[in-house]
Amino acid sequence: MFVQVFIALILFSFGIFIIPRRFQFAYALTLTLVMAALTSYWAFDIMQGNRQFTHINFHVAALQSSFILVFDKLSAFFVLVVNLTVVVGLLYARGYLKPYCATKNTLSFAIHYFAFIWLYFSMLLVLACRDGISFLIVWEVMAVSSFLLVIFDAEDRNIMKTGINYLVQMHIGMVLLLIALLIVEKSTGSMSFDALADYFSQHSNWPLFLLFFAGFGIKAGFIPLHTWLPQAHPAAPSHVSGIMSGVMIKMGIYGIMRVLLSVQHDYLIIGIVLLIVSVISGVLGVMMAIVQHDLKRLLAYHSIENIGIIGIGMGLGVIGISMQNDVLIVLGFSGALLHVLNHSLFKSMLFFNAGSVYQAIHTRNIDSMGGLMKKMPFTALLFLLASLAICGLPPFNGFISEYLIYLGMFKSLEGIALYHSVLIVFGIVALTLIGGLAIFCFTKAFGIAFLGEARSPQAAGAKEVSASMLWPQAITAITIVAIGLASAWFVKPLFSMIADTYGIPVAEYVGFTKNLTGISMLAGIFLILVVALLVLRHVVLRHRPVRTGPVWGCGYTAATPRLQYTASSWADSYFKLAKPLLRTKVHNADIAEDEIFPVTKAYETHPEDAIKTGVVDAPVTRFLELLKKIAIMQTGQIQHYVLYAFVFMLLIFLLTYFQLI
């Protein structure tokens, strides 16, 4: 029965093109909700261990082949992550898209909703397809539908350009995956993920893993494969960026996990590669985030950082397998998976609220914001909650996943070989540094954007967005707090899932939940203390004279909002430290010698992505130069072209005559 509903939903998605405009949203929402309910039911069933798999087998007569969809525990977990964020994203989209109603026609809305539904369906299908061909097809559908979503605002030429860039990069990843799967097919005769284990048991493991890692890594955004991410996320409408950053890039993580499940040996080298690439992604991601002025671009770089944290967890898990260290396996992988869920929650929420700010003041430049907490209190509160969570601060969910990874590292330090200890300390330092830098970055993002005085007239006139953009986020907010406070409840299924996969006895990990109870207790104590102190403060201040006055200006009384710290000045002290790794273009005109009365000056900084310039732009430029040289042949004169054809035929004749080809 359920299978029929599943297929019906897929077919019904085409109906969006024929229904009238005012029902489009309701139609899309219905499809999404039904699909979410159905797949969540399956996923819970599998997670609870009621059954091992859900098989869906449907035969397509025209192609004379049948597609088999399989949900196992790993896919079930990702299905739940996808469902939650997609549903919230669609509910949020209603308010976000309202201003576009005047400028966009019915068709473009229909395309948008259609692409949205199909991004969702394709993600579910990616999680379920094990066969190589069907996997690549749905992987492609996912790329194309997200491309359509990114270019929703394509009147802006830059957005179209970004969209094309995104599409090209996705296809490079796709080609890598295709090659990897073809290698598997050539050796085992079957082009599927189930055949991977066969392949890995007979061949060297790390080369093929690296190929898969590169292919999935482009989607996930590991540095240096990240360059599409900071461009596509700001260009896309905010509900789309939330979903792309929150869940779509996680499909890359899912792919890597899926391949890791089949890997048979070479664990140490794979683990080290994963760990090093992730540490670089994590540290550089957040380092580049700090210097951004564009709020959504800043968040995009943070996605790279969080992918890095997830990768650190996975890398440690794999190193754990190589050391046969059950603690590291359980804690590394469960930390990584929990961070997948956590990041999908707080990152989507950050993007949604960045979108709300954009709708209110029509700019993404942090330096034009300021004082928004007074104008948009609910948006600010949600943004603050998500900021605290993404920094990994207790008592919120980000802390729990980082804690699991930390605990895995600290518990594994004793009695292991030298190079393992060095690797783990490397991981500890990286994770600490990432945590510290994230705090530095989000004090800036929240403090400069939402606190202080308004830095521009738009910010001064900002109004809170409609309730329909706020209440869907309550679902996310509650989950964030729930995971932070009642972590044991969420982490236990992950523990048992990983322990089942790697055959680890319950006794090995059952003690860890006790630690989570300790965290919950301390977090509870902290919250009680906060409430107690605030109540005390309220009571005390009621009996005391309280007034407002100007802030301390050091004798200067004409302070304007322009004197406040800006996003650039916040990053400046740090930028000097990190100069070797970061690049910023500065436009600044010095005062000329003969300039007796200085005229208005402008100072601009444009943060650049050094890796993008080095890894993507430079080779492309060189390649274009080469092509230009070849283009000498393109003379535009017909007799030359006839001559080329003649030379070519002569060449073929000579080569065949001398039996060279």
Binding site: L522, R547, Q564
Partner: protein, 304 residues
């Protein structure tokens, strides 16, 4: 429980002792040991002035910060007595909850919209970010040495091993904790609490606009933090199986020595140039790494 009470007692006298040391060293008569407590009592009785642009964050931040500091008190052990709440990896919670308090202090400074406070907040956020790795490597070293991962377990088994080199980690641990505590509490040589120029302040300029009750909370949190780090130093130096009364005495001796170090430091030393601070803070990470390598050698991993 005894640890909890001891820390509260130490926190009462800690700032006063620093003050006494400084006034004696500079040849002044100076205020009494209880002066900081009297100051707090005065502040608690006062009314408040809030900056005109400030909002809710500015008002709740001091309470949140103090709540975080009190909450971390629960994981600090004393002697063989486990902390009130002890679990594996509790020092991660310790560091991150203190960071939460700092997060709010920093954004509260930005809430005023004053460029001075922005400057202070920026510097404080930068330095406390740079000091974190040193703390984690130190704890990693302890964890590797003892094979345990909670404050209570680490310190109760720290000196029990028959390894005589433990003195080395004790001393390195003490040194690093002193330095980390000074940076976390914004004392010399990274920050000078007694400077009078806003441009050279770090922590002080961040809390310029706090007054009355909130200011008192900020001071209390800072005193408690001193005593907490002092307790950690005691745990690193004093073997847990010694006589309990001797340990209590030594607890206060260590706190006194810590206060003496701070007081003398501030009497005879100038603050670092601002641009040299990051370098200074990062040196601690380097020292922590050296300590880690020393443990590697001593546990026989490196020289096998």
């Amino acid at each position: 429980m005894p640890g909890f009470i001891l820390i509260l007692i130490a926190a009462l006298f800690f700032p006063g002792i620093i003050l006494r040391v400084k006034s004696i060293a500079s040849g002044r008569k100076g205020p009494g040991v209880l002066q900081p407590l009297k100051d707090i009592a005065v502040l608690l009785r006062k009314g408040s002035v809030f900056g005109s642009g400030t909002g809710i964050i500015f008002r709740i931040a001091p309470s949140l910060n103090l709540a975080a500091v009190i909450a971390v008190l629960f994981v600090i052990p004393f002697s063989n007595q486990p902390a009130l709440i002890a679990f594996e990896g509790d020092f991660v919670f310790f560091a991150y909850l203190l960071a939460l308090g700092k997060f709010f202090t920093v954004i509260a400074a930005l809430d005023t919209g004053s460029s001075f406070e922005g400057m202070g907040a920026n510097r404080e956020a930068l330095y406390s970010m740079l000091v974190e790795p040193a703390f984690f490597i130190l704890l990693g070293t302890f964890a590797m040495f003892t094979g345990l991962t909670s404050f209570s377990e680490i310190f109760s088994h720290f000196h029990v091993t028959d390894n005589h080199y433990v003195v080395i980690y004790s001393i390195i641990g003490f040194y690093l904790l002193v330095q980390i505590a000074m940076i976390e509490n914004s004392r010399l040589p990274v920050d000078d609490p007694k400077t009078h120029l806003e441009l050279t302040m770090i922590h002080e300029v961040m809390i310029l606009d706090n007054s009355g009750f909130d200011k008192a909370l900020i001071h209390i949190a800072s005193y408690l933090k001193f005593a907490i780090y002092g307790a950690l130093m005691t745990a690193a130096l004093v073997p847990a199986e010694w006589n309990l009364y001797l340990q209590i005495a030594l607890f206060f001796v260590v706190q006194l020595v810590f206060a003496l170090i701070i007081g003398l430091n501030e009497s005879f030393r100038a603050r670092n140039k601002m641009s040299r601070n990051p370098q200074y803070v990062l040196t601690l990470t380097a020292i922590a790494l050296v300590a880690f390598v020393v443990v590697l050698i001593l546990t026989g991993k490196l020289m096998q």
